[in-house]
């Protein structure tokens, strides 16, 4: 079964590799600093809020982000887009990667709040032990909410 374990590690590495490094978050070819990050939320556009009255996770980003709210096609609800304001984007500011992480987290939390009324909390306290072989996974988990695709 050692071989299975190794196959597993390879797979975890594949998932973790790009996650651990920020470069892996956005498809690197065709990266565009002014690209919108967005989620689709099952509610009407007016329920997403308006300037000065955004849901808490968006409001917390203050004037560091542009906000875009448009109806989604069909019955899919509303598209909420966020992007770093000009001057704070990748290549323009040393904190750009952090801001992009916070944007992705705010998008996910806003969808949870608007659709379910609260932000789902991960189970805790955890029961895990730290082992050497779990290193790639531990790295990946550091950005398990702030990395990814939106």
């Amino acid at each position: 079964m050692a071989a299975a374990g190794l196959a597993g590690l390879a797979l975890a590495g594949a998932a973790a590799g790009g996650l651990a490094s920020r470069a892996g978050t956005v498809a690197s070819a065709g990266a565009r600093p002014d690209r919108w990050h967005a989620v689709t939320i099952l509610c009407a556009p007016q329920d997403v809020g308006s300037p000065g009255a955004w849901p808490q996770p968006v409001a917390e980003l203050g004037d560091r982000v542009d906000v875009r709210v448009v109806p989604a096609p069909g019955d899919r609800g509303t598209e909420l887009g966020l992007r770093a304001r000009a001057g704070l984007r990748p290549g323009e500011s040393p904190d750009a990667a952090d801001l992009e992480d916070r944007i992705r987290l705010a998008l996910r939390h806003t969808r949870m709040l608007l659709e379910t009324g609260e932000v789902l909390q991960p189970d805790r306290p955890g029961t895990t032990r730290t082992t050497l072989t779990s290193l790639p996974l531990r790295l990946a988990l550091r950005r398990s909410q702030t990395g990814g695709r939106p």
Partner: protein, 389 residues
């Protein structure tokens, strides 16, 4: 409290872990009275799902009693006997509204892992790795159930614990395979795998009106149970040519719907199976799709193949040519339990869906490691071991 934990590849142990508490207003805490090992847990045990950490509590198919509810829980009260869907879903996102609960947008607190791997994150699951949310599993005395109004279902008084338990995962998964596979009256349906999931898929196909249902496996005891308790036909792939049998049974058409309930650790005969085993061990492919290939090959033109077996990433020698040239529909999903459990409980109450025979072994939680040894190595005719915390 006590819980059965994953400690490494093929290593489990019972440990003392902190009791769960309410973390969200829509949570309930359930005292687990029955929890059962699933074929999916064998993939965790074997190290094929590399998102486990030592100490993680496993288990996702369970039944118990509500002992605490959050302030926003509306349909459950302390004392309710509930069966809980193995997948965690919010019930209110677009996917949940379509009945596609395992694709929930809000049920997985670690979405980035699977977004990277698969392009999008499915919902969460109890005890099924950090990729599916890192939720503590049900092989424990207590478990926290998020979105309790959506995922927990009161068991009718007339349905026993032993029967209702399997609505949590195996029966709901099997039903989904037959339902979304589009089984219709008159169909000939073949099911690969005579584990609990395959047997439940076969039973579902029969209840949906299939003319003939054939279950295929390599373990004689399992085939015997399927024949006796499900009432389907069976084929032992080690003693017969599955393809020739299915061609004869369908007068050369092939089966209308094929349901694959084997997953990434398929065994088989001949070159294709040997090839998969070697490639998986050399890390050249992560999964062994032996049964998927056979299902595709034996499905009739314009038929449907539904993949219930769990796969992690990529397979090799996928017969895309057959899919295209025969005009097949190939579909798969993690289980949409919330969509089916109420109906399954009703059928269980009416006696149409019987599951007790799946629980070949019942053991205390302390014997968890032994239960998994029986299950994994198919010792003593073990089909599914039930643990009673």
């Amino acid at each position: 409290m006590k819980a059965l934990t994953w400690q490494g590849v093929n290593r489990l142990s019972v440990e003392q872990v902190p009791d769960p508490g309410l973390l969200n207003a829509q949570d309930a805490i359930v005292k687990v009275t029955r929890t059962v090992a699933c074929g999916s847990d064998l993939h965790l045990l074997g190290g094929y799902i590399p998102f486990m950490r030592a100490g993680d509590v496993i288990g996702h198919e369970f039944l118990g009693e509500v002992v605490e509810v959050g302030s926003e829980v509306r349909t459950h009260r302390v004392g309710d006997r509930v069966v809980v869907s193995s997948f965690i879903a919010c019930g209110r996102c677009w996917f949940c509204r379509q009945g596609l609960f395992s694709a929930c947008d809000n049920g997985n607190t670690n979405p980035a892992l699977t977004e990277r791997l698969w392009g999008a994150a499915p919902g969460g699951c109890f005890g099924y790795s950090h990729a599916l949310g890192g939720n503590a599993g049900s092989h424990a005395e207590y478990v926290r159930v998020p979105f309790a109004d959506v995922g927990a279902f009161r068991v009718p008084d007339a349905v026993s614990d032993e029967r209702a338990l399997f609505a949590s995962d195996a029966a709901a998964t099997g039903w989904m395979g037959a339902d979304l596979g589009g089984v219709r009256p008159g169909d000939v349906v073949a099911v690969w795998g005579a584990g609990a999931v395959g047997q439940m898929a076969a039973r579902a196909a029969m209840l949906l009106g299939a003319e003939r249902v054939v279950v295929i496996d390599r373990v004689p005891e399992r085939l015997a149970l399927a024949e006796r308790h499900v009432g389907c036909e069976v084929l032992d792939l080690t003693t017969t040519s599955v393809g020739a049998e299915l061609m004869e049974a369908t007068a050369g058409r092939g089966v209308d719907v094929a349901i694959e309930a084997v997953g990434m650790e398929a065994h088989g005969r001949g070159l294709s199976a040997a090839y998969d085993q070697v490639k998986q061990q050399l890390r050249l492919q992560t999964d062994r799709p032996t049964a998927v290939r056979e299902a595709i090959y034996n499905t009739r033109k314009a038929g449907t193949v539904f993949v219930l077996g769990v796969f992690a990433l990529a397979v090799d020698k996928f017969p895309l040519g057959a899919v295209l040239n025969k005009g097949l529909t190939v579909r798969g999903a993690q289980m949409h339990g919330q969509r089916y459990i109420p109906m399954l409980l009703e059928r269980m109450e009416r006696g149409e869906l019987v599951t007790e025979h799946l629980a070949t072994h019942v053991l205390p939680l302390d014997d968890g490691p032994r239960a998994y040894d029986l299950f994994k190595n198919k010792k003593d005719g073990c089909l599914r071991p039930v643990l009673t915390p």
